[in-house]
């Protein structure tokens, strides 16, 4: 069986539609670095179930691969990296809207 690789729970915020990550203290943060990095598969499944139950805050939760960086969890795949910054053709999205929120 393949070894479980670390994950974060991520989704889109219901109202704004922007990418958010589930923190250890159950906030939806716009910053991936604040996410809870999950290293245990059973815990990951549980956190995803809990996320799914919060349908009035978010849409489309899923588990994304992540690794620990200097400032917290970082993306592994380029798609997830784009979700932490925004589009490459304009200074829109997270690259210019970095303020933290709960």
């Amino acid at each position: 069986m393949p070894r479980f690789t670390p994950k974060v729970v991520t989704a889109n915020a219901l109202l704004a539609g922007d990418a958010v990550w589930l923190t250890e203290d159950d906030r939806w943060s716009p910053l991936m670095s604040e996410a809870e990095l999950i290293t245990d598969e059973a815990h990951a499944d549980l956190r995803l179930l809990q996320a799914r139950a919060r349908a009035s805050e978010i849409a489309g939760p899923y588990l994304a691969d992540a690794r620990m960086g200097d400032d917290g969890p970082e993306p592994v795949h380029f798609r997830e990296a784009f979700r932490t910054t925004g589009p490459s053709n304009y200074p829109h999205g997270k690259q210019v809207e970095t303020q933290s929120r709960t």
């Binding site: 889109n12 109202l15 990418a19 849409a59 380029f78 784009f82 979700r83 589009p87 490459s88």
Partner: protein, 556 residues
């Protein structure tokens, strides 16, 4: 242009009110995302990578100035001050907030527009030749039938849950500018031996993961029979199309698996069965609609000013060489406004630019605008004497790029910069290619060249029918770009051939440059286009240009 009657108005307003309630119930938690998703998709609302995206239908690509101004207003009020014109002649807003969408739809309804059936497994926005009603080579303006199809397909109870999405394109000209052979149904206006106008009906074309060129189902369907015949096709597909596998659900696969003879027989059978039901009301309606598409009152005046401006101003001459197309009325021209400034995002227009184009259409263009599937904006009816003034206004608005049909007039889907389905980015590749050709100053020498980029296998960027097609993929967690060559989206539709292994994001722009400069050495004369050269020589010499080191290895 067709103007909404009370029925259309009431229908659209009712739908907005319904959707407002659905959004409220989603926000207060009474609807789950699974319940809400099909409802929002029916109204053109997607959830993408960074935000929601609202896809607004521009039926058969036709807009009036008031509608264009309203699109600008919506961009300013609820989005980030711009809109993205798409390969289905639609406009997309990339940053709406969920709670604002009902107000955006209400604002669209104010100008007779909507976002209905721009998503989902329904009949999508009917597209048309963007030069419809203006082109010199046209038999008849195909937009009246497109409007009839829009009315028939909108909320058609039988066709709200088709096996998969269903796209129809129409053209009234021999030169196919509407990619009809890559649609579920393509309709081409033709004359029969008796001189009567009717339609050649093409079925089963499509791009995506299984690209196929459409086949002629019937050479001639009379105008009176068209709606019943199209309904028969969709009806047969609705029953026969596969629902067990999303990738085998489009009518192109139904046709492929059952054979065109079987489909033809089933359609004829169904057509005979339902034809009586179309007891002439559709023809009365069509006659009414046709009045809305009567040609504008063309005027006769001197074109001396135009000729003088061409002689006096080389930049204007260059622009008029590339961005104008022959018009059917004497002294008139069709203006293509390039939304492909070198280095900019293909198809993106700011709200200010939209207002400038609306003003120009009002002042000089008989109040008409078109969105082309190539992501440009058209002023279909312009007198040549007004071209210098139009050019000056476009220059001021940064809209005067002289590159229509050239290497930098690139179709690009939003790719992974916006789209949740994408496997790689498209926009930065398009930006870099256009910037590079601008630096090289060779695109006018290169001549007609269609480069089309898709950020995933679904092929919204039409890469299969690009002379040079680029497909962005994810190869082991890295963006990788595959090149196809020799594609063609016109009346001689051809699916491009894959050239070989893909290129990294860093390698793809130099590869395209090699290909285009290499073509300059291969062409038999300045008149032989890239596509003609490719057709004459085939893949091998182009492959040698793309993969020079492999070539050397073979020789060694």
């Amino acid at each position: 242009m067709y103007i909404y009657n009370d029925f259309d108005e009431n229908f659209v307003r009712t739908r907005v009110a319904q959707f407002r309630g659905q959004v409220e119930r989603r926000i207060d938690g009474s609807l789950t995302e699974d319940e809400f998703k099909p409802l929002r998709l029916m109204n053109g609302l997607y959830l993408q990578l960074h935000a929601y995206m609202l896809r607004v239908a521009v039926p058969y690509g036709t807009l009036n100035p008031a509608q264009m101004r309203q699109l600008a207003y919506i961009a300013d009020r609820w989005d980030k001050g711009y809109g993205h014109f798409t390969t289905r002649q639609n406009i997309q807003y990339n940053w709406p907030k969920l709670g604002d969408v009902p107000d955006m739809l209400e604002a669209l309804a104010d100008v007779g527009m909507h976002a209905i059936q721009t998503s989902g497994n329904t009949i999508r926005n009917v597209t048309a030749d963007h030069f419809a009603g203006a082109a010199a080579d046209e038999i008849e303006d195909p937009r009246a039938i497109a409007e009839l199809l829009r009315q028939w397909s909108t909320d058609h109870p039988e066709f709200q849950f088709l096996p998969r999405k269903f796209k129809i394109a129409v053209t009234g000209a021999a030169e196919d500018r509407a990619v009809t052979r890559a649609h579920d149904i393509g309709l081409v206006v033709v004359r029969n031996d008796a001189g009567e106008i009717g339609y050649q009906v093409i079925v089963g074309g499509g791009l995506g993961r299984t690209p196929m060129v459409g086949k002629v189902l019937r050479e001639f369907v009379s105008k009176a029979d068209l709606l019943a015949y199209v309904e028969a096709i969709v009806s047969v597909y609705n029953l026969l199309g596969r629902r067990d596998n999303k990738y085998k659900a489009r009518i192109k696969i139904t046709l492929h698996e059952n054979g065109i003879e079987t489909i033809r027989d089933l359609v004829e059978e169904r057509f005979v069965a339902i034809r009586e039901g179309f007891n002439g009301y559709d023809q009365e309606l069509l006659a009414e609609i046709e009045k809305s598409f009567a040609p504008p009152a063309f005027v006769t005046k001197s074109t001396d000013g135009y000729e003088a401006a061409r002689l006096a101003n080389p930049a204007f001459r260059s622009w008029s060489d590339t961005n104008l197309t022959a018009h059917k009325a004497p002294g008139y021209a069709i203006v293509s406004i390039s939304i492909k400034k070198h280095g900019a995002t293909p198809g993106d227009a700011t709200s200010d630019q939209m207002r400038v184009m609306a003003d120009l259409a009002e002042q000089y263009g008989h109040g008409e605008l078109r969105i082309s599937h190539e992501q440009n904006v058209i002023l279909p009816h312009v007198h040549q004497s007004d071209l210098p003034a139009i050019y000056a206004a476009l220059r001021k608005a940064d809209l005067a790029t002289a590159n229509i049909g050239l290497a930098s007039d690139i179709i690009a889907c939003p790719g992974m910069d916006y789209c949740a389905l994408a496997t790689a980015r498209s926009i930065p590749i398009a930006q870099q290619i256009a910037t590079r050709f601008d630096e090289l100053k060779i695109e006018h020498d290169v001549g007609p060249l269609k480069i089309k980029i898709s950020g995933c296998i679904n092929a919204c960027g039409h890469h299969h029918v690009g002379h040079i097609g680029i497909l962005g993929l994810d190869r082991a967690g890295v963006e990788n770009y595959q090149i196809t060559l020799g594609g063609d989206g016109t009346q001689t539709t051809t699916i491009g051939e894959r050239a070989g292994p893909g290129f990294s994001a860093e390698e793809i722009v130099p590869a395209i440059e090699r290909l285009v400069t290499g073509y300059l050495d291969l062409r038999s004369s300045k008149e032989e286009t890239f596509l003609q050269t490719y057709r004459r020589l085939g893949l091998p010499p182009f492959k040698a240009i793309l993969y020079p080191s492999e070539d050397k290895a073979d020789a060694a």
